[in-house]
């Protein structure tokens, strides 16, 4: 009797556990997985958006990608942003967090708030601000000219190399503070005594940073790295709003090119766009998986 009641309670508890997560899980299936399945089906089709038919051969949209020079460029650009921007941002964020985690530092709250602020601005606004700052007759050029660093106005957004740099700088500006907050939080979970011990051992700041801080922050680093990789591989707004992918598609990202193929330039090629977005999905998933495996300390 007693036993039976205990079992009933446990079952009830287990059931309520499932009940609690059901709405969220269902919604995720409905808003992420189901559309993704649909996108996969669409990726096997061709034709105008209203009258799609199965492509011939079935995986035509996928083989088509191999011949698409713009898609290859967009992939190269996206990975370039990923390889340069994500490490710089994460290292800078850890560094800032490390500096701000010092109990003797004054105005910590103020510094933290100011550095976090950029990510409160909306995308539309921040793109506008950066475009104006880096315009040919903009403030940045005016400042560099008066400092004698450059001799004539640089066309930042109109030259492939500098345009990519501006995109990276803009992303650094917006997201470094955001990541910093996570690291700061991670650091606050580390006992202060660990540092004191390191100091007694005579480790200098740099050594402490690499040998104590970074390993202890590993889980946070994995999390922020996955978020950043995901964000960068799906990078869209910066490419659209800052450079429109130009000059000559040299800064276009994968998501931007996918968008251009589905909406954007009037010719809706949903089948092809869906195929490309499926490739992005797989890329992100694989990279995230590698990241989790590398970051996993348990085995």
């Amino acid at each position: 009797m007693n036993k039976k009641k205990g079992f009933g309670l446990l079952a009830k508890q287990r059931a309520s556990g499932w009940a609690f997560l059901t709405p969220a899980a269902l919604l995720l299936f409905l808003t992420s997985f189901y559309p993704m399945v649909q996108a996969f089906i669409t990726s096997l089709k061709t034709g105008s958006s209203a009258r799609l038919k199965w492509s011939e051969p079935l995986f035509n949209n996928y083989t088509r990608m191999l011949k698409d020079t713009v898609f290859k460029t967009s992939m190269g650009n996206t990975f370039l942003y990923l390889i340069i921007q994500v490490p710089i941002m994460l290292i800078l964020a850890i560094l800032l967090a490390q500096l701000l985690n010092n109990k003797d530092l004054k105005f910590r709250g103020l510094f933290r708030t100011l550095i976090f602020l950029p990510c409160a601005t909306s995308l539309v606004s921040y793109a506008l601000i950066f475009k104006t700052l880096f315009a040919r007759e903009g403030l940045i050029n005016a400042m560099l000219l008066s400092l004698g660093i450059i001799k004539e106005n640089v066309n930042w957004l109109g030259t492939p190399g500098t345009a990519k740099a501006v995109i990276i700088i803009a992303m650094l500006w917006r997201w470094t503070g955001y990541n910093m907050v996570f690291y700061l939080a991670g650091l606050q979970n580390i006992e202060y005594s660990v540092y004191e011990a390191a100091n007694i051992d005579g480790a200098n700041g740099w050594k402490t940073f690499w040998n104590v801080t970074v390993p202890l922050l590993r889980p946070v680093i994995v999390m922020t790295a996955i978020m950043s990789i995901n964000g960068t591989l799906q990078l869209f707004d910066e490419s659209v709003n800052l450079t429109a992918g130009g000059p000559s598609n040299t800064t276009i990202t994968m998501s931007h090119y996918i968008y251009n193929n589905s909406l954007g330039s009037g010719v809706a090629n949903f089948g092809y766009a869906s195929a490309m977005s499926f490739v992005v999905f797989i890329l992100v998933a694989v990279l995230a998986l590698i990241n989790m495996k590398v970051g996993d300390t348990r085995d």
Binding site: T113, I115, T121, S125, L133, W173, L184, A185, A273
Partner: protein, 280 residues
């Protein structure tokens, strides 16, 4: 006396060692804030002054405001944005915190596996889901409603993850005690979990509100007409005309940015605590 002097010397020694930190942080803070500062000053200048890169405050604020409210229904858009972001925040927090609570405190193998699958949802690119989601919302006859705005963001892997991590700090013993006291499972959630997790909720609220307030692409797809226009749409509408009034535009940008900045300022202490719990 001597003691306090040595301490003072020690303090000043520490502060001296921190000078490079101060310099570096000041530069970073300046770089972070400068573009925002420029947004403030630009809102007080004329179009030509903004285009020519004037840095300091001007005297055109009132004119810009008049032009702004003449061009579009600013306060309606502010109201809409606020309403949608608010409903989104409440809804997402409720659904995701319940899920995080369920995943962590009732965890078993099945749930852990499900969670691993749900992690994949984070990697689904937005461009890919735009059209299927639009079709879904339109079939449900929900276009132009608050539901259309909030549904895709109601359940996000990120929030579930955050609550799941934070739930580790929730003592299991308390749950047992509550059960013995006769509290139902859902009762434990609302009466015990909810009040204890306040800072997590605050952090999640800041992130969700910011995301909802600033979201553009999805609302733009499903919300049509002046009655449901949001702030990012209003700003985007002003920035793409044939001839753009930059002073007025920057004032619009300012209005679009202020609420999220204010909310962060107000909740920043809880925000930091909530994030701290999430990365433990």
């Amino acid at each position: 006396m001597t003691d306090s002097r040595t301490r003072k010397r020690a303090v000043s020694h520490i502060q001296r060692k921190l000078i490079p930190s101060y310099i570096f942080l000041t530069i970073m803070a300046f770089l972070s804030v400068f573009p925002l500062f420029w947004m403030f000053t630009a809102a007080t200048n004329t179009t030509v002054e903004v285009a020519r890169g004037k840095i300091w405050f001007g005297s055109h604020l009132v004119e810009n405001y008049k032009a702004l409210i003449a061009t579009d229904n600013l306060w309606q858009a502010m109201g809409n944005s606020f309403f949608y972001a608010f409903v989104q925040t409440i809804g997402s927090l409720l659904i995701c915190s319940l899920a995080g609570y369920g995943f962590e405190l009732y965890h078993d193998k099945g749930k852990d596996r499900l969670f691993a699958i749900l992690l994949l949802a984070m990697m689904v690119p937005q461009v890919a889901t735009l059209i299927p989601l639009f079709t879904m919302i339109s079939k449900l006859k929900l276009l132009n409603t608050v539901w259309a705005f909030i549904i895709p963001g109601l359940s996000t892997t990120f929030l579930i993850m955050m609550f799941r991590q934070n739930s580790r700090n929730f003592p299991i013993d308390t749950m047992e005690a509550a059960r013995i006291d006769g509290l139902s499972e859902i009762g434990i959630f609302f009466r015990m979990y909810f009040p204890m997790m306040k800072s997590t909720y605050a952090a999640a609220a800041v992130i969700t509100f910011m995301g909802a307030w600033n979201s553009y692409m999805w609302p733009r797809t499903v919300m049509k007409g002046n009655a449901v226009k949001t702030m990012p749409m209003l700003v985007a509408n002003m920035s793409n005309g044939y001839g753009v009034d930059y002073g007025m535009l920057m004032l619009g940008v300012l209005f679009a940015s202020l609420p999220t900045i204010i909310i962060f300022f107000v909740l920043q202490k809880q925000f930091a605590e909530g994030i701290t719990g999430a990365v433990k």
